[in-house]
Subunit: 357 residues, 2 copies
Amino acid sequence: MLQPLTWTGHAVRLLDQTRLPRQTVYVEIFDERQMHDAIRRLVVRGAPLIGIAAAFGVYLGVKDATPEQLSTRLREVADYLATSRPTAVNLFWALDRIKRMGTSKERILRECLEMIEEDNRICRAIGEHGLKLLQQLHAGAKPTADRRSAAPASSRNILTHCNAGGLATAGYGTALAPIYLGRERGEKFHVYADETRPLLQGSRITAYELKENGVPVTVICDNMAPVVLSQGKVDACIVGADRIAANGDTANKIGTLALAIAARHFNVPFYVAAPTSTIDLPTKTGADIPIEQRAAEEVAEFGDRPTAPDGVDIYNPAFDVTPAALITAIITEHGVAIPPFERSLAEMCKTRMENRG
Amino acid sequence: MLQPLTWTGHAVRLLDQTRLPRQTVYVEIFDERQMHDAIRRLVVRGAPLIGIAAAFGVYLGVKDATPEQLSTRLREVADYLATSRPTAVNLFWALDRIKRMGTSKERILRECLEMIEEDNRICRAIGEHGLKLLQQLHAGAKPTADRRSAAPASSRNILTHCNAGGLATAGYGTALAPIYLGRERGEKFHVYADETRPLLQGSRITAYELKENGVPVTVICDNMAPVVLSQGKVDACIVGADRIAANGDTANKIGTLALAIAARHFNVPFYVAAPTSTIDLPTKTGADIPIEQRAAEEVAEFGDRPTAPDGVDIYNPAFDVTPAALITAIITEHGVAIPPFERSLAEMCKTRMENRG
């Protein structure tokens, strides 16, 4: 597996995900300003990984503070890093967790390193629960109406949007974890990867990591997903999440809502896979989730080539909210939450707190 | 209005639509091979305009034939041009029409020039019928739930996909005709233009021509349309068509199905605007429409920059089929067809034949 984030002993080494798939370039991050910039520019991305990166950012920001400065500095740096991106709740969750480490730099660093280990365990657990779900699905699957496709019939066919794989976490990924785990156990998968406009995390990053890991992948434009779904080519859609409200409404990369609507239209199961740290119980519904608006250039230019006339108005929300009613189940490290999500998600979060206690 | 196709007296002058919005470049087409290439490479595109371009291609291919060669040559050139693109039925319709001009080069050229005039009249008639439809819609519109948007409330807000404007026809466009006509009469419109992956006809061409013609336009990625629809920002979706089957199933640019599903989900009217030459009664349903598959590079590269890893599998259908059940109405030059489309479309085609007779 590629390592999108490692601690070198004096810096955080990040795989620059803006350069994929052309270049595999690593950058070293030495202070909180560089980390803020790396998160904002999507050098490091993916909700779980953003949390870990921000935690390390705090450590880098306080490591030279005197004991007297430490608690003030800790708050300042955490507040500063909280301004890097607004939607993924894992960022705020990780910063809160680090702030609770109080006044010991060693404890802060240890907690950062533990977050990496924990993320690995969580991704694996999501993989176990997700794989079981897919196996049940396949066992009970009815023959589909129209298999015009080249998708291998003996494989499970999964459609995913954006990147919720190994490069979005410190481990195995969330949405892709059941696939990696299944492959280790000899099962066959084939993945349709939405390219994911505007920043193409699907074609650039998901296709890249699946190919590196030997999983057959077919890239499609986002607007082709309904065609593939209509042809009976897809056993299940699985996506990650940036924030899950208490009622199950889920903020994820722009285009997730479009996919969920199409999956419902064609009666294909639509799963969200995420660690419980993505569940934000204080956020009651999706209407309360802040949605990041990003620069027009992401849509209106590719490289330095314009794709729209100069000065034309662009609307570029980075995320959308899929209402709980369109989600079949939410796969976490503590099991599979099914509707009504108010109850099942609260249960998942309770399990997390108990496991900690 | 920009002129995407003009007859110079010895050649066809085409606006090279692959170069928009960066460059406004015209190319002159002197023979049928150049025209075949121009159609295949999308230098000229849009179902109605492809038909006219192909008709001129036939004339260019036969203009140096001797009287003895003419009828053989006519058939050869028409059959050759029919291989340029498979989905838009206007291509085949126009070639058949030209073939009926028989053995007079002068009649063939006259018919080509008449097609331009006729297209202008048809686009204007589509505009009249479409505008009336939008006016009724607006009059009876209920206040929408959630207008978080910057879309001007006093304007009609239209969402369109791909380009079915003046650059897809010899005239005013089909989907955009009601907007241009309304503007001439002092009505306000604002258009959301889906960028339309992979070839970006929406951001490159629709945004360009709307801007040139003074219509406010906001470009969005295709996968953002459901967000805009969910916010109550859109009064109606209007798209063009490449082929309409007898039952109303409509082949149009890839992504149209995704939009139609989302429009239905949010109860926004979804209109198709097309000349009756796009209605193909011998094609009974959408399942009988051949769908053009295009090169992987259209998805996997932008300019010369790769957007997906080398060698990854790409699925790139150029069109999809929107089932009649998702279409609110079909706007033609002879009026507005509503379900059941079997009957209303047959009626439209009958009107066309009678007007001819």
